[in-house]
């Protein structure tokens, strides 16, 4: 509802103020219809697609880069690329899968170029983690890290992920953090499911060594 309110009130997004009911109608439409509208030149339809998926894309890219600024830039680049290539989108996959693939590939290429910022700028951790059963169990264990707390855990997790290769990190993030299936990851990364499983296996082996204090 917050987004609907924003769509109603935000006049900066379009040269001409749109009618409220039109914005709401757009927001209620399916992705396919919005893509079709955007392909016909209705930029407001693409705005709705951005609003719909920006946070999910940001989360994926952020987990791969461990840097907020890089993640923000890459998601912007992803939507720009998607907007420019929209005419070539034939609907063979969902819009989200398509744009997800663009984001993952751009992030991997970005990391390979080595232009990523070397320091980590981490997001805040939501307070609701304190009620997560896994977190509660982890903190209740008698380990040296019990007193260290949440911040160190976050640092350790991000540092361990950054030690993986780009492809291994992408697979782990997409599967274990984002909860995607092997098949969807294979589509997003344009490789076979067997490759995804293999990368996942070796990445976890490495992570088990890096995070052995928590396991």
């Amino acid at each position: 509802m917050k987004l609907l309110e924003r769509l109603r009130t935000d006049r900066r997004l379009s040269p001409a103020p749109a009618r409220d009911d039109q914005a709401i109608d757009l927001w209620l439409e399916e992705d396919e219809a919005l893509v079709s509208r955007a392909q016909r030149g209705q930029t407001r339809a693409f705005d709705v697609l951005i609003e719909r998926y920006k946070e999910r894309l940001y989360a994926t890219v952020y987990h791969m880069t461990s840097n907020r600024e890089d993640a923000n830039d890459l998601v912007q680049d992803t939507f720009i690329k998607a907007y420019k290539s929209l005419r070539s989108f034939k609907g063979q996959s969902s819009f989200y899968t398509w744009v997800y693939r663009i984001a993952v590939n751009r992030t991997i290429n970005f990391l390979k170029r080595g232009k990523n910022r070397t320091h980590h700028s981490l997001d805040n951790v939501d307070d609701s983690i304190q009620t997560d059963p896994d977190f509660v169990e982890l903190m209740s264990q008698d380990t040296p890290h019990r007193e260290a707390g949440l911040h160190e855990l976050q640092q350790q997790l991000n540092a361990a992920l950054q030690k993986l290769s780009d492809n291994h990190r992408a697979v782990v993030v997409l599967h274990d953090v984002q909860g995607m299936t092997h098949a969807d990851i294979a589509k997003a990364m344009k490789c076979s499911e067997g490759t995804v499983r293999s990368r996942l296996f070796y990445a976890r082996q490495q992570l088990q060594g890096l995070l052995s204090e928590y396991l």
Binding site: N72, F79, Y83, F135, Q154
Partner: protein
């Protein structure tokens, strides 16, 4: 089932995607195999640990300007196109494009004629007029010792070369010692090499060779 097969199925077991008979087989293997059971526990813990990253979120107002920034960057994008694209975009190529098939055919014909012309006009190579810069004619002279000469017994005479004129080198002959006499015609000032006991040593014109 083997351990490595079972370990590859942990994800499918957790997500419930395995068919029931296979799922039972994996569970049975985990009950029987300590290594796989420990591995399964560690992997499950790792997945739960990584899942905690989902609680990392940007500040609530982080995306407030996202759409505006996107539009600003999108408007700035066309200026990043390459030089040739911009150059051709500025030119009005419509009249030329209407003649594109004729122009392409004419271009192919001109190219073919040019290749034919070059091919017919090219004469066979007449050879190079340049001659070798240094001519060395080895001559083995044996004095007072009729025994056969081996390679490592060959020595070169002491001589100094002028820079631009041919020179005849007279060998210094010691009784009982085989000598390699060399006639050198020297035309250019490139350095040359003298065989000295099987190893090749560069000779300069400034320093005489001692042996």
């Amino acid at each position: 089932m083997k351990c490595h097969q079972v370990q590859r199925l942990f994800d499918d077991l957790a997500s419930g995607r395995l068919p029931e008979p296979l799922s039972q087989g994996v569970r049975q293997h985990l009950a029987d195999c300590t290594d796989c059971r420990v591995q399964h526990q560690r992997m499950t813990k790792l997945q739960r640990l990584l899942a905690l990253k989902r609680y990392e979120r940007p500040a609530p107002d982080y995306f407030d300007s996202f759409l505006t920034d996107f539009k600003v960057r999108l408007e700035a994008e066309p200026t990043r196109t390459g030089f040739w694209r911009r150059a051709f975009a500025a030119a009005d190529l419509e009249p030329l494009l209407s003649w594109r098939y004729g122009l392409a055919t004419a271009g192919c014909l001109i190219g073919a004629l040019a290749l034919l012309w070059v091919g017919l006009g090219k004469s066979p190579a007449t050879g190079s007029a340049s001659a070798p810069a240094i001519t060395v004619e080895p001559l083995i002279v044996t004095v007072g010792n009729p025994s056969p000469v081996s390679d490592d017994q060959l020595v070169s005479p002491r001589f100094e070369l002028p820079l631009t004129h041919p020179v005849e080198v007279e060998p210094t002959i010691s009784p009982g010692r085989p000598v390699l006499a060399t006639t050198v015609a020297h035309h250019v000032s490139t350095p040359h090499y003298v065989l000295e006991r099987v190893s090749i040593t560069p000779a300069t014109y400034d320093v005489p060779i001692d042996f």
